[in-house]
Symmetry: C2
Subunit: 414 residues, 2 copies
Amino acid sequence: MNVSIIVIGDEILIGQVIDTNSGDIARMIEPCGWHVNDVQVVGDNASHILQAIDRAFESSDVVLTTGGLGPTKDDLTKTTLCQYFGGELYENADVLENVKEVVAKRGLKLNDLTAAQAIVPSSCKVIQNRVGTAPLMWFEKDAKVLIAMPGVPFETQQMFREAVLPLLLEKYNSNTSIEHRTLLITGWSESRLAMEINDWEDALPSYIHLAYLPKPGLIRLRLDGTHSDNDFINKELDKYRDELIARFGKDVLHPDDLTPPEILLHHLNRLGLTIATAESCTGGNIAHQITSIAGSSSAFMGSIVAYSNDVKHRVLGVHNETLDTYGAVSLQTVEEMAQGACNVIGTDCAIVTSGIAGPGGGTPDKPVGTVCIAVKSPRGIVSAVHHFPGNRSRVIDRATTTAIISLIHELKKI
Amino acid sequence: MNVSIIVIGDEILIGQVIDTNSGDIARMIEPCGWHVNDVQVVGDNASHILQAIDRAFESSDVVLTTGGLGPTKDDLTKTTLCQYFGGELYENADVLENVKEVVAKRGLKLNDLTAAQAIVPSSCKVIQNRVGTAPLMWFEKDAKVLIAMPGVPFETQQMFREAVLPLLLEKYNSNTSIEHRTLLITGWSESRLAMEINDWEDALPSYIHLAYLPKPGLIRLRLDGTHSDNDFINKELDKYRDELIARFGKDVLHPDDLTPPEILLHHLNRLGLTIATAESCTGGNIAHQITSIAGSSSAFMGSIVAYSNDVKHRVLGVHNETLDTYGAVSLQTVEEMAQGACNVIGTDCAIVTSGIAGPGGGTPDKPVGTVCIAVKSPRGIVSAVHHFPGNRSRVIDRATTTAIISLIHELKKI
């Protein structure tokens, strides 16, 4: 089944807010064998919204809209949908009850504007929003369905999964399975990898498609399989994935679609090891990436973000002599930081960075993008100098991912 | 002038990658008085790409596409554009030279697949990509323009600003100014704020529009002004912004569109103060947010991410008695962590968090979302318990922003 998504909001069009709702929805409908045909982003403008609905219904049976349901004047979605599907706006008593509950849970008082969230078109079936004040609305026309959802990401994510998806599953039976396998490969450029497996890719059956998803420091290879027989397509995908694993051996960072921090925690837990980070140029981002994973406290104990040399020396125990002789961005310094992090935090492993994220601070010897990375594991300390292209945030991202991958490579050998 | 953006790539439609290019472009064209009319996201599918181009040209004079220009088989944009605009594919010698240079800079060898990036439609004018291998392509048809750009965000961002935007400015003169003012307000819900300024908003002139952009812990109020006279609209916007500032006084976090970490650094630099963070549940994210700002090393010295109680005690000096009596998530603990952070890192100020980000770890007394925040400034230590709704990443985000804002409020009083 085809699904079209319409994202409504001036704030998206002018680039003040990034749309994450369409991706969240896509990931949730994929296991049902449904497919997002297209996403349209339009402003808070009635004629644009109406045109987008017409276009979406051309290609899809189900249209999902997000946004434009707030209580303020700039939000027009509700009146526009009433115009499109007919009926009139009225105050729904059940919605009002729900709005009162949500507002009370937030410790706030109900005001007139929030109460107006209970006004809905008579042409829709209301789906109560348990986690926000804007009700979800289910419209039907000519055997097609449009569901209007709020723009706040966590509300849409939670209510789509809990309430909308079950209703869609009830209404639409899917008889095509779409399954995926994703491998993470390191140490290859996209084009070199594509040449290496060109013949293999050409020989893939028509029901399997290969996609390349390059990320800083790694490439995700995704096999998409589409077939009426779910067992068959899963077996086929496993077979072709195993062929890739056999071919790329140690360059396969992981045979499933996990993120580098998830893979790192998997190996730390497997080995019963603990970890700390000592970060200069990544400024806490490695610790943040690791602690974003639920359950990370089983292995992650803490970090020292040592931005100044004084902190590198006093807290992590890097010798002043080392800093003076080799500089803060040197293999000698990051190796001492790695030992210091394990000592101070009391862990088995450490991930360490020191570099020049830019835009300032570069020298001819150590230009912006130079990052020294050290990792300590039961195998000892390993360190290397890297040169990452791009602006400050890109250097921080690349250094973060590369540092995490460096330790994964060490732990895989144990 | 209206601009339409077409984002091409299966990886966006299935939610594996989030599109940030359209927002980047929107922010860059806004100062020119141009307007993104709509964004369409379509898969790597020739007929969908062709349909999207037709639709885009219906509403806009300029169409920008991103993505689908990679060297691998799943990328179809180039052949599809050749089909749409006519001509034939040929190898462009200048592009080949450029590809060789880019590849050499990355320390890689040129292979056949990367060399094929030099094959372009004869119907386009090539814009060399200084930072990647996929050339940008400028097509014209019936006095309208389509520019195809790569999907890699930093390539698109840099090449659009450096090469595409100047060419567009040369071709199109704008005689309408669109200007903005953004205020950050804390301590208000969106609906309460909207009611408070309802009459004021109704009385705004037709050339000024107010938008509400709620973010976790704060609301951005944006005034958009559209007028042929640039001086006039800037004066008008300043006037209405000043009225809002006069009305909301201390709840105005900042009178410009800065992020909370930028505002924090502004005040630290203004006062000549240094800062450390001591983070438990935010796991380094506060340090990461601060160090993402270029120049943050003027004030930011370092952090202790104290995930385990052992690190809170040994490194930050929190008394075991305090941890035993009140628990790690308590005002007593975060206040001792604040003092410890300033002592250990050697700073004037500190931002501290300890809480339960979930999904596990909650108790009846301290459910998931409970976060204790302390800030230390020359005014002393201030602490409070907060309860944030949502999942792990939302709790971390809310706690990060709230903690930064807490210290800003203290520094504003100095």
